[in-house]
Structure formats: structure tokens, C-alpha cells
């Protein structure tokens, strides 16, 4: 699985105006006084729960969601909204561990059979009870080669989804698949009402249609272009939330969003990359900025192994020449952590010691001498062309850092600016990747298992463009291994190959930047906000 997350929509919106150029210009002088020191030690997963009821909370999304149907919820704005509306079979806790959700119990009689016991007494917003039919429908619609679900690759090994009892659903797999079982704690495992989804067809989850789920908030209204209004669900099985109303605005322009947060017109927002003008928020008396544990990382992907980046030694040299410490300071205003591997410590949901030991074997420290040595060994190198997304400060500044690193060790690195509206084609269209050796992207795995990240290096994965296949055995073995200790060995094996040969260069781990007005508190601070009801604990501060 792969997670491309410089969102097309958000980026397109931003690029729609020159305004972005206006805001990025500010960021340079703010870097100077950015004294942020974000580290794994000071990342949090929760904020103090709200204690008082509050009438209305306004939350900003970086762009208007395309759909609220959870099967199309695979991006920041969509998931931020749906996490409070539609619940999954399992619930991802803020620390990324998993607890029962709509399934009160899960058993695996054997490696290819998963049995979910559906929770009693759960009702949809309209009062009808949750049934096994709804669960079967919600999963089954994502199975199959032509399923349009954004999560269909998690369902690739699903053979059948059937109701096997009045409150029991059994999923049969064609082969053991740890990604499927864990994905049930993400939007892939979210349950919608069968009757509503079938009645509304394509309109389900859009402003034209509606939504019918079981979450702590219900969908009141979606005013296309303006706002999405949620109301507290008084009958919520896990206790009604403190906020009676939660409304989402869609401010795409970062400086406008920052201003709206500073004036209190908007009560909060999750940023997946720190916004330009971060210091205006950290310095503000009105809001509190929290950096949360996250699964997002910033990386440089190699798309062409026949060009300048084709030789392993060149990628290794480039990696050694990059000053990641400076990169996180300059590009991410201090709100980033130098990355040594792709799946960082936040992914260690099991066998932590094993992963930590393997992780300690890698370093993010630059070593120019060794890098020069590697370049000398590699001989003549063709110029390296990196695609840079237009109107994106993060892209351009990262490209500058990489170019400087290349120059220091004698590599000719050129950049090719691609307009944001065409940048998305790089992911789909081999013709668009013609003449390009690599590009930058944010990615994330959906849950705390490095298997999900390294899965994208499987030669069969739709995002392994160059057909790099040096870790296939370990990757496939890990996905099919239900024993955690054994799986960790496979993943560490794959990680070793991937981090040695560097088909992708790890650059930075990106924490969640959560901004909350001081009148409220309680939003989940970690990346789990994408998949679990983060606003259920949100309330007023007395």
C-alpha cells in the first residue's frame, strides 16, 4: 500500500491562486525565529479532555471533501470529517493500539478466517439497529477487481464476506493477510447503512445525498462549497459527545486559515504539514498548538532506475550528503524529525524492541567524505532530474536542499517544475514520468505496522512504478505472517534491503500539527484522528 498525500485537491485549490506565493514568502523570515524542537520524546497522542458542554465547535478542513462515503475517505479532509460520522469494526486508539469498535469481538479460528461479533444495541442515526447485513454490505462492496473503493487493495485477498449468525460476520481470505485485519480499524472497516447506501446510489455521501452511520455525530447538512454541519448523536452507544454541534469550514489558503484560527472564528484544525506562519500560532494567546504522533513521512521516490539515480551507490551517496537536520528546520519550520528509515518508530505497534534494535543500525547523519567516495566509485553519472510540484514551498525548498547536497558531492541535480494540476499524473501515467528520475511526496501507512509502508515496494504494488523487486520475498512473507515476532523479522529484513538500496530516500517524519482554540480541548492529537472519532472527547474548558 502506498499513501500519496500532497493532496491533489488541496494543492490544486492552493495553486488556483497566487495567494500561495504570498504566504510562502512569509515563511522564510519566520524560519529564523522558529525555535521549535519537535522530537519523538515530546510528541503526544491526546490533549486534555474537555469538561464542559459546548454549543458549537467550528473546525477547518484544508479543502472540501470529495465525498463523505467512508470507502472514498482516503485523504486528510475526508477522513477528518468521516472519523466522527462513520465508525469502523475496530477502533484505533490515539496511541495506535486497537480496541473493539462496532465489532465487540474478533476471533480468527484459522489464518484465513476472521469472525466479527457485531456489537449489541448500536443504532444508526435514524434509530434503526445495526445489523449484520449492514456490515456485510459495507465490506463486500469493497471486494473485487473493479470495486471503486479507495481501499480495495486491502481487500485483494478477501474471498467472501458472509453473515454466519444473527450478530456474526465471517470473512474468508484466500491467503492470510495481516493488512486486511488491521485495516478494519481504518475507514476501510467503516460501516454504513445498507438501505441508505443502496437507495442513494452514487449520491451517497455527497451534498446531494446523505449518509447513515452510527458515529458520535450525525450529518445535519452539507452546504456545497460552504460548510458541513454535524450534530451530536444523543443515542451514541459510547456516550454522547460534549459538543452539540460540530461544523466544518473549507479554508484552503493557509494564511487565511491561520488568521481565522487566531481570531477564534475557527476553533481548530489539523495540519498534515506545518503551515507557513506556524510561529503566529505558537505565539498566539488564543490557541494552543500540539504536535502529535504521526505516521506521515516525507520522501523522495526514485521513478527511473535507468538514469542518474539508477546506481545504488548514487542514491546512497545522495542520502549521505543530505543534512536532514537542516531540512526539517528550513522546510518544516522545526516541526519535523529527520528520518532514517521510511517507517519510523511510530509504526512499531508490536515487537518494539526488535524494531528499535534494527532502527539503531541506521543513521541520518551526513557523511560527505563517504558520499564522495561512493560517487567516485560509481564513475560518470548522468544528470539527475527531479520533478518539483509548482507553487509548493515544501517541494521547492526540499529540492534546494537536495541540489545543494548533490553539488557538494559532485552530482548534477536538475529540477523540473511541474504545475500542480499535472503533478498528479506522475502517479498514474508512465508518459508523465518520462525524463524524470524522482520526485517528492508525503506518504503514510494506515496503521501502526511497518508492513503497510513497505508493502508499496512489492513489485506488484500499483505504486512501485519502476518495478523494483529486491525485497519481494520478505514483503510478501510479512503480509501473510500472522505471528507478530515472525512478521517483525520479515519486515526488518525488507526494511534492511530498502534502507540499504534506497529506492526511496527517507527525509523527514512529519508530526500532526493540531491547533485548538483555548476555549476548547480534547481533540485526539495523534494521526488516529483520521480513523477514530477524535471529537468525541472534545469539549469546553472551564
Amino acid at each position: 500500500m502506498f499513501r500519496r498525500r500532497i493532496t491533489l485537491t488541496a494543492a490544486a485549490l492552493a495553486a488556483a491562486s497566487l495567494a500561495l506565493a504570498g504566504c510562502t514568502a512569509q515563511s522564510t523570515d519566520q524560519n529564523a525565529d522558529a525555535a521549535l524542537a519537535v522530537d519523538f520524546d515530546n510528541l503526544v497522542t491526546t490533549t486534555e479532555s474537555g469538561t464542559a458542554p459546548v454549543d458549537e465547535v467550528t473546525w477547518n478542513l484544508p479543502y472540501e471533501p470529495m465525498s463523505l462515503d467512508p470507502q472514498f475517505g482516503y485523504n486528510y479532509a475526508e477522513n477528518t470529517a468521516t472519523a466522527n460520522l462513520c465508525e469502523s469494526l475496530l477502533r484505533m486508539k490515539p496511541d495506535f493500539s486497537v480496541e473493539p469498535g462496532l465489532a465487540s469481538g474478533v476471533t480468527q479460528p484459522d489464518d484465513t478466517t476472521v469472525v466479527y461479533t457485531i456489537r449489541d444495541g448500536v443504532t444508526f442515526w435514524d434509530g434503526t439497529p445495526l445489523t449484520v447485513d449492514d456490515v456485510v454490505y459495507s465490506l463486500d462492496r469493497q471486494v473485487g477487481e473493479t470495486a471503486t473503493s479507495y481501499f480495495s487493495s486491502y481487500f485483494q485477498n478477501v474471498e467472501s464476506v458472509e453473515a454466519t449468525g444473527p450478530n456474526e460476520v465471517t470473512v474468508k481470505l484466500t491467503q492470510p493477510d495481516v493488512l486486511f485485519t488491521q485495516a478494519m480499524a481504518t475507514a476501510a472497516g467503516a460501516i454504513v447503512q445498507k438501505a441508505a447506501a443502496e437507495a442513494q446510489g452514487e449520491a451517497f455521501g455527497t451534498p446531494d445525498g446523505g449518509l447513515q452511520c452510527t458515529g458520535p455525530f450525525s450529518l445535519e447538512a452539507w452546504n456545497s462549497g460552504k460548510s458541513i454541519e454535524l450534530a451530536a448523536n444523543p443515542a451514541y452507544w459510547d456516550g454522547a459527545p460534549l459538543a452539540s454541534k460540530l461544523s466544518f469550514s473549507f479554508i484552503a489558503d493557509e494564511s487565511t486559515a491561520v488568521n481565522a484560527l487566531r481570531t477564534g472564528e475557527v476553533d481548530g484544525q489539523y495540519f498534515y504539514l506545518p503551515p507557513a506562519g506556524l510561529s503566529q500560532l505558537t505565539d498566539s494567546d488564543e490557541v494552543t498548538v500540539t504536535f502529535g504522533d504521526s505516521l506521515v513521512f516525507w520522501t523522495m521516490m526514485t521513478t527511473n532506475f535507468d538514469g542518474g539515480l539508477g546506481d545504488d551507490r548514487i542514491r546512497q551517496a545522495l542520502s549521505l550528503a543530505i543534512d536532514r537536520e537542516a531540512l526539517t528546520k528550513v522546510v518544516f519550520q522545526g516541526a519535523g524529525i529527520p528520518a532514517t528509515t521510511l517507517a519510523g518508530p511510530s509504526y512499531w505497534g508490536y515487537e518494539e524492541e526488535k524494531f528499535a534494535k534494527a532502527f539503531d543500525g541506521f543513521s541520518a547523519d551526513p557523511d560527505i567524505e563517504e558520499a564522495k567516495q561512493l560517487v567516485a566509485e560509481a564513475g560518470t553519472v548522468a544528470p539527475i532530474v527531479l520533478a518539483v510540484q509548482g507553487s509548493s514551498a515544501v517541494h521547492e525548498q526540499t529540492a534546494n536542499v537536495i541540489q545543494a547536497a548533490g553539488q557538494a558531492i559532485g552530482l548534477d541535480i536538475q529540477t523540473k517544475v511541474i504545475p500542480v494540476e499535472q503533478f498528479g499524473n506522475l502517479y498514474f501515467d508512465p508518459a508523465a514520468r518520462e525524463g524524470i528520475d524522482g520526485f517528492f511526496t508525503t506518504q503514510y501507512g494506515s496503521f501502526a505496522d511497518p508492513t503497510d509502508v513497505y508493502q508499496m515496494f512489492a513489485s506488484t504494488d500499483s505504486h512501485n512504478y519502476a518495478g523494483w523487486d529486491h525485497a519481494d520475498d520478505a514483503i510478501f512473507a510479512a503480509r501473510a505472517e500472522t505471528d507478530e515476532a515472525a512478521r517483525a523479522d520479515h519486515v526488518i529484513d525488507a526494511q534492511q534491503t530498502i534502507t540499504d538500496e534506497l529506492p526511496w530516500l527517507p527525509l523527514a517524519y512529519e508530526p500532526v500539527t493540531l491547533v485548538q482554540n483555548d476555549r476548547i480541548s480534547g481533540a485526539t492529537a495523534s494521526f488516529a484522528y483520521l480513523y477514530a472519532p477524535w471529537a468525541a472527547t472534545l469539549g469546553g474548558v472551564e
Partner: protein, 316 residues
């Protein structure tokens, strides 16, 4: 020409323009690289089977003319089409955004007209340092991009003083006017400056005309001369420029809409173009063309009031 036949000719012209622009826009979108696939399949991308299924479902591989004719047929049945990116009817998408754009552009038009004409006339009549000052301000206004004005307005009047909201289009009525004040000012600065310069030039020219000199020599009150002889005669170029400016504001508002997070037609259009959402692009373009033609028709009508010698629809 009578008002009836004038209207008939205008409507005929409008239909022709609509047909030609829709064909051109459709063709250009078709030729430009990119596809809505990225937005339909989602960030995950898709397997070849999924890509084939979606392409088939939305006829993305059909030849250009087939798609265009299908779209044209729907339009003739009053169906604006379906946004494949947003999975909703284009008519809903558009109707939600028209009011915001309408109010924003109307407010900006009023500001442009009042400020532009007053400042231009003042500069032309007073001359001297006040003319210098107005011209300098106009030059600054013309050369300042609207997003800079917008960001400055937000930081002064919304963040520091707290008089206006920072974003959004409000909940209707007075609230909407309150929300759209800063955006309307940001949108109108450059155009008002432009109109001020046009007005100044027109008033100066008229002031030097013989009939004005005659009136002055005959001892008519300066106020009367300005109102009845100078301004009235300068109004033709002023109204022409004003009409054209307003028509371009509708799509030109996109930058301001983005800065103030407004749900206008401009941002919908730009986003739809980026996403290759053909039906939405076409529908917004249709609205723009209609607005353009209507504004120009209104300007034509105004001409006949300003100068009775001009006949409706004449080529003068």
C-alpha cells in the same frame, strides 16, 4: 431599432456565442494533458481493471465529437450534466455558488463605480496636487495584486481590529454583506483605480470641449456645467469600461475567493479545470458568457439614456 428586435438579435447572438465557446472550451480541455481519473480513483491510484471500469463508466475514452454531442444533447434537455469528481449534479454545484458570486460582484461593482467616478472626476476638476495624489493612488491600486490587498485587509480589519470576519460568505442577508465587505474591497481596488484614470481622462477631454467653454463664458454655474455638460458626456466611455470590468470580475474573483475562502463560481471553475471535470467547466463557462452578454446589453441600454442620439444596437 426597437427594444424587441434588439433583444431578439441579442439572444440570437448569445446562443451563437455559447455554441462556439462551449465547443472551444470542450476542445481545449480535451487537448490539454491530464484526466479526471486521478480524482475519481483517489489518492490510492488504481489497478488497470479499476481504471478500465471507470473510463468505461464515464465515457472518458469516447472520441471528442461523441462526448461533445452527448453533452450538447443534455444541455438542450435542460440538463447541465453530472460532476464525476464531486459525484453530484452540476446544477446543484452551480446554484449553491451563484448567490455568493452575485453579491460579491455587485458590491465590488458599486464600489468601483462610486470610488472610480468620484476620484476620477475630482482629480480632473481640481488638478494640482489632488490630481497628483489621486493619480499616484490609482497607480498604486492598479499595480497591487488583489491577493496582497486581501491579505493586508484581513490582517488589519479582521485580525487586528476585529471589525470583519476573516473568511466565508456568511449565513445570508446582512451577515453576508458583512462577510463580503473586505473581499469586495479587495476585488475592486485595481478596477476602481483603472476606472478613476479613465474617468479623469474623459472628464478632462470634455472640459476642454467648445460647448463647455461656451457655457463657462455664458456664466453658467460651475456645478451645473460639470453635471450637465462634462459628466454626462464623459459617461459613455466610463460606462463602457465599467461594463467590461464587471463582466470580467465574475471569473477574475478566483484569487480573492481563495484568500477569503469563499464559495464562488471563480474557484469552482478553476478547480474544475484542474480536475478536468468537463461538465462543471462547461456549465460555469455558460454562466459567464450569459453574464457577459447580459451586462453588455445593459450597457447598450444605458447608452441610449446617456446619449439619446445613440440608437439601441447601433454601431456607433
Amino acid at each position: 431599432m426597437s427594444a424587441g428586435s434588439y433583444l431578439l438579435r441579442r439572444v440570437g447572438g448569445l446562443l451563437l456565442v455559447l455554441l462556439v465557446t462551449s465547443f472551444l472550451v470542450f476542445g481545449l480541455l480535451y487537448l490539454a494533458p491530464g484526466s479526471p481519473l486521478a480524482f475519481i480513483l483517489g489518492p490510492r491510484g488504481g489497478t488497470p481493471e479499476q481504471i478500465a471500469a471507470v473510463t468505461e463508466q464515464y465515457h472518458l475514452d469516447d472520441p471528442f465529437l461523441v462526448r461533445y454531442v452527448a453533452w450538447l444533447g443534455d444541455i438542450l434537455h435542460g440538463d447541465l450534466g453530472y460532476s464525476i469528481v464531486y459525484r453530484q449534479d452540476v446544477s446543484t454545484l452551480i446554484s449553491g455558488r451563484v448567490p455568493t458570486t452575485l453579491v460579491l460582484v455587485s458590491m465590488a461593482a458599486v464600489i468601483i463605480a462610486v470610488v472610480g467616478i468620484l476620484a476620477g472626476t475630482y482629480a480632473a476638476l481640481r488638478r494640482g496636487w489632488s490630481d497628483q495624489l489621486t493619480s499616484t493612488l490609482a497607480a498604486v491600486g492598479l499595480s497591487t495584486p488583489s491577493f496582497v490587498v486581501g491579505v493586508a485587509l484581513i490582517s488589519i480589519f479582521a485580525v487586528t481590529l476585529g471589525w470583519f470576519p476573516t473568511f466565508g460568505s456568511g449565513t445570508g442577508g446582512i451577515d453576508t454583506l458583512h462577510h463580503l465587505t473586505l473581499p469586495a474591497i479587495a476585488l475592486s481596488v485595481a478596477s476602481a483605480a483603472y476606472l478613476a484614470r479613465i474617468t479623469r481622462a474623459a472628464v478632462l477631454e470634455e472640459s476642454g470641449r467648445e460647448h463647455v467653454q461656451t457655457a463657462t463664458v455664458r456664466g453658467l454655474a460651475p456645478r451645473y456645467i460639470v453635471r450637465h455638460h462634462v459628466l454626462r458626456n464623459s459617461l459613455v466611455p466610463i460606462v463602457t469600461v465599467l461594463g467590461l470590468t464587471i463582466a470580467t470580475l465574475i471569473a477574475g474573483a478566483v484569487v480573492v475567493e481563495n484568500v477569503f475562502a469563499l464559495d464562488g463560481l471563480g474557484s469552482l471553475l478553476v478547480r474544475a479545470i484542474l480536475q478536468r471535470d468537463f461538465a462543471v467547466v462547461q456549465a460555469v463557462i455558460l454562466v459567464l458568457v450569459v453574464a457577459f452578454v447580459v451586462v453588455n446589453a445593459v450597457v447598450d441600454f444605458l447608452y441610449t439614456f446617456i446619449d439619446p442620439r445613440i440608437a439601441l444596437g447601433s454601431r456607433q
